[in-house]
């Protein structure tokens, strides 16, 4: 029963696809002059909209098609509103409305036919027409075909992209004619691939050359059954397919490496502040995760203060997160850690208590619910290098940010007076004090610096994960792991350890799953520490 149903619906979707594509092609082929013959009367417009008032998505799709083919001037706006779920009908009435803003509970509405202001509506008075996924795809196709008359290259390219695997005996000639008329190089390239794929299906060996090295999955999926036979064509297709697969495998490896480095960069960002407080000062700070959380909340607050400008807010959050978290760090150092110097167990307990207090504070002040930090447009989406390799922009940005923070911190430790004093205090506290370094001030600044860097990690994490009271908890164990694995007190060690743990984790993940990958990494690090307690990079010389 289900089987037949689902076969039928498959055929239907196929058919739909074709009709949309044919429609696209027609609109493309025919010139503009034919459209919009005459505006329709109000009664006709009403009838067109009335057809949408049905429960069946199939019938709704046909009604949308009728609108697209009609001469109504309002049709683009209607279809767009239908697509956005903003076209509706009066409940217990006959008027049609377009909802101009559907946020909140009272919506401003306009008359759908005359576009005159119609006051406000609510869900009790206006019933918006519903659409589902298939219908959405169909309406998008209709809108695309309406906008084709504008002739812009991007929509032609998208339409050409859709043709791959969809060329058949019915439309092959018209596609070929279109290809010859096409001016744009890239559109022509897409159409060549579509036609070559069709030719190969018809048994043309020469057409395979065009497909060699093409990474589009539809090419691979079409060639796979062809390569299964044992004709000359099959053998040739096999070799093309082999080439495609090996090329894809290389891009897959590159992608895994990127995933690993990106996961590693998060680890490094979270751990590097700890590398300073724990590694350099020897303070076990269990509230480190909460300092990260404070950085993330700072980002959110700056964004609240600057509505509509997420990019600017994010840029301001970088110094903001650093300063706020740094200030918290200084306060923590002055009020708690200073009094527990040299008593690691008590520091651990005190800072753990502090972490709980900070979490509950955030819950009481901001609510236990997660806060939404929007990403600016330039951090959304992916950089599509080719069909097989794309790098998501937010992760790429975090990776670069991590490297910049690392370089900055390294330069600070290496070239500034503060860095010199920090290193002096770490290596030999008594001697440094004897040389006139004010060790307590250095302690305070170092802890503030570590906390500030944790704040920066929070700013970065707000782009990748939830901003909520528990944000920090997930990173505290990982951070200690990275610092210990890299070698306590060594910034380079933290970088190398974080990046390598990230890559190992991402290589393992597809094989064994996320849970087991994490366990394997943890066990691996424990074994490594057994063998080499000082971590990857051992501190050189004697330290006290």
């Amino acid at each position: 029963m289900i089987k037949t149903q689902h076969l039928a619906s498959r055929c239907l979707t196929r058919l739909l696809m074709h009709s949309v594509l044919l429609c696209l092609l027609m609109a493309w082929g025919l010139s503009v002059s034919q459209t919009a013959a005459a505006a329709v009367s109000d009664a006709q417009a009403r009838a067109l909209l009335e057809a949408l008032d049905t429960r069946s998505f199939q019938a709704k799709g046909d009604a949308a098609q009728a609108i697209a083919e009609s001469g109504a001037e309002q049709k683009t706006r209607w279809l767009q509103a239908l697509l956005d779920g903003r076209l509706g009908k009066e409940r217990r009435g006959e008027r049609f409305y377009i909802i101009t803003d559907d946020s909140g509970r009272e919506w401003p509405i306009i008359d759908a036919i005359t576009f005159e202001d119609a006051g406000t509506g609510t869900r009790r008075t206006v019933q918006a027409f519903k659409i589902n996924n298939d219908l959405r795809t169909r309406i998008q196709g209709l809108l695309a075909s309406l906008s084709l008359s504008a002739g812009d290259e991007a929509s032609r390219l998208a339409a050409a992209g859709r043709m791959i695997g969809e060329v058949s005996a019915d439309n092959a000639d018209s596609v070929r004619a279109m290809r010859d008329d096409e001016e744009s190089q890239s559109v022509r390239g897409q159409l060549d691939v579509a036609l070559a794929l069709y030719d190969v299906q018809q048994g043309d060996i020469d057409a395979l050359e065009t497909l060699r090295g093409n990474l589009d999955t539809r090419v691979r999926n079409t060639l796979t059954p062809i390569a299964a036979g044992d004709s000359e064509l099959a053998a040739e297709a096999q070799s093309v397919l082999g080439g495609i697969e090996s090329k894809r495998a290389w891009y897959d490896r590159a992608q895994t490496l990127f995933f690993g480095l990106s996961a590693g960069s998060i680890l490094v960002l979270a751990a590097i502040g700890l590398a300073i407080t724990f590694g350099v000062m020897g303070v076990i700070n269990m509230a480190h995760g909460e300092l990260i959380m404070i950085g993330a909340y700072t980002t959110w607050m700056i964004q609240q203060a600057l509505p509509g400008q997420p990019g600017l807010a994010l840029a301001l959050a970088i110094p903001g997160g650093f300063l706020v978290a740094g200030a918290f760090g200084v306060v923590i150092e002055r009020t708690v850690i200073r009094f527990l110097k040299g008593r690691p167990l008590e520091t651990l307990l005190a800072t753990f208590g502090l972490s709980l207090i900070l979490q509950q504070l955030v819950r009481s002040v901001f609510s236990p619910l997660n806060r939404r930090v929007t990403s600016p447009d330039w951090l959304q989406g992916a950089w599509q290098i080719n069909e097989a390799l794309s790098l998501t922009l937010n992760r790429l940005a975090v990776l670069l940010f991590c490297l910049v923070v690392f370089a900055g911190l390294w330069a600070l430790m290496r070239y500034t007076r503060l860095g010199l004093e920090v290193r002096a205090v770490t290596q030999n506290r008594a001697m440094a004090r004897a040389m006139g370094v004010r060790a307590t001030r250095v302690d305070m600044l170092t802890f503030g610096l570590g906390a500030g860097v944790a704040g920066l990690a929070g700013v970065a994490l707000s782009q990748l994960t939830n901003v909520g009271p528990n944000l920090g908890q997930g990173y505290i164990v990982d951070s200690f792991l990275v610092v210990v694995f890299g070698g306590v007190g060594n910034l380079w060690g933290t970088l190398v350890a974080g990046m390598s743990l990230g890559v190992i984790n991402q290589v393992l993940q597809p094989w064994v799953g996320a849970v087991l990958a994490k366990i394997i990494v943890l066990v691996g690090v424990i074994l490594f520490i057994q063998k080499r307690p000082q971590g990857i990079f051992a501190p050189k010389g004697r330290t006290s």
């Binding site: 589902n132 959405r136 999926n221 939830n466 996320a514």
Partner: protein, 437 residues
């Protein structure tokens, strides 16, 4: 195995009955006057606070409303709120607190995760309490003292998969958080899909830890899995706030609902408030209620809720409807029994029918599950769902799945004289419950 035999031991020694009887005598005097005490056992802090604190507020609203209408049996209702702080063992401890002493509560509304329910189960059975559990869960459980007002797998997962099959989906990625609910649900779904002729190669199963945020390689794996030429869908039992980075990653890697639709069982209006839904339009969720459901009962409930919270943006969701139904069922059962006595209410509630928020009515079945309509909603750009499909009638919850070999012969029926939570219909032997003897 051990817990079952232990429970049996307790049951045979008559300890449960004895305790319950003793409690009744002691309570009989205290109960006639004074308020009826309603326990609310939802986490107000910790990881689960995000979902559960809303339910606490909703219960307070329902109790207020009932009191304004004159209370129950001429007595006022008094809420008893505790905070188990997302700590499963604390749930058991606090349930014990609620059910012992002179100020014993008459009913508990609470819990969210299956782990916390499993922790409370032995306590409410031992002390003969009443627990209304409002969240969709994995089934394979039946307790004399628990009423499951959320969906069982056959009221959510199976109809959702049927819908996707009717949309031409042939390849399935089952993604879940690594704990009992997703694992059991996916086991049921895998068996169901295979019974419907889906090949093993066309099913991919993946589990991730709680709060997971590094979705990049899994999403890219799914993308790869879905680009083999067959229409693919993701069935997500990912729970809690791991959903936000998951959906963000989907959007960033350019997977739209037109390519690979995701149908989720744990993502509702509440969860979507933390996400920009514009790139997610068309991804789906299966529930028994959506805030966008078109009925006057629903609009009234939303108006009440907005007025109660004082927040114009406040959202409602499926577990809230479950509590709404559960509370009204309990109130009606108490009226019917004329007492809040647990054993009397347990008997009188079976068959009770109350209106639900989608314009129909829900009935408490003998297996302590309720009848509900099943709906599929597609995410809209305003953070709401639009219902694209709905079962023509309500579906009765099934405690023991028909698709798992271990439980396909089992049913549960708590009516006298059967009183059995785990009855093998083939051999007619009862494996659990007072009817076992």
């Amino acid at each position: 195995m051990t817990t079952t035999s232990l429970r049996k031991l307790i049951a045979t020694s008559g300890l449960t009955l004895g305790l319950a009887g003793f409690g009744n005598v002691a309570l009989a005097q205290a109960q006639d006057e004074g308020p009826i005490r309603v326990g609310i056992l939802h986490s107000l802090s910790g990881t689960m606070a995000i979902s559960e604190s809303t339910l606490k507020d909703e219960m307070l609203m329902l109790i207020d409303k009932q009191n304004d209408a004159g209370g129950l049996l001429g007595r006022q209702l008094e809420p008893v709120v505790m905070d188990p702080a997302s700590d499963w063992s604390l749930y058991a401890e606090q349930a014990r607190d609620m059910l012992t002493g002179d100020d014993r509560v008459d009913v508990i509304f609470g819990n969210w995760t299956s782990a916390s329910r499993k922790a409370v189960l032995p306590v409410v059975e031992e002390l003969n309490g009443l627990l209304f559990y409002p969240v969709q869960y994995e089934g394979e459980e039946s307790s004399e003292n628990i009423f499951y007002t959320g969906a069982a797998p056959n009221q959510q997962a199976i109809p959702a998969v049927d819908y996707l099959m009717s949309q031409g989906v042939e390849r399935w990625a089952l993604l879940g958080t690594d704990y009992v609910y997703p694992r059991t649900t996916n086991k049921i779904l895998e068996a169901y899909l295979k019974a419907n002729g889906v090949a093993g190669d066309d099913i991919m199963i993946n589990y991730t830890p709680f709060g997971f945020s590094d979705w990049q390689s899994i999403v890219s794996q799914v993308k790869d899995f879905g680009s083999q030429g067959k229409k693919t869908a993701v069935v997500s039992t990912i729970n809690g706030d791991a959903n936000v980075p998951f959906y963000n990653e989907l959007a960033n890697q350019g997977i739209s609902a037109g390519d690979i639709p995701v149908v989720a069982f744990s993502v509702g209006e509440q969860e979507l408030t933390g996400i920009d839904t514009a790139p997610l339009v068309g991804h789906m969720a299966a529930w028994n209620y959506f805030m966008s459901v078109d009925s006057d009962a629903n609009y009234d409930f939303i108006d009440d809720w907005v007025a109660y919270t004082g927040n114009d943006e406040a959202v409602t969701n499926d577990p809230m409807e479950a509590h709404y139904i559960g509370f009204n069922m309990w109130a009606q059962a108490v009226k019917k029994a004329g007492t809040t006595d647990v054993d009397a209410v347990k008997d009188s509630i079976i068959g009770v029918t109350v209106p639900n928020l989608s314009g129909g009515a829900s009935t408490m079945m003998p297996n302590h599950h309720i009848t509900k309509p099943v709906m599929i909603g597609e995410i809209q750009d305003d953070g709401q769902f639009s219902v694209v499909w709905q079962t023509p009638t309500t579906v009765a919850g099934d405690a023991w799945s028909d698709y798992l070999p271990d439980s396909k012969n089992l049913i549960s029926d708590w009516r006298a004289p059967l009183r059995c939570g785990k009855l093998d219909v083939e051999s007619m032997t009862c494996e659990d419950g007072p009817g076992a003897e």
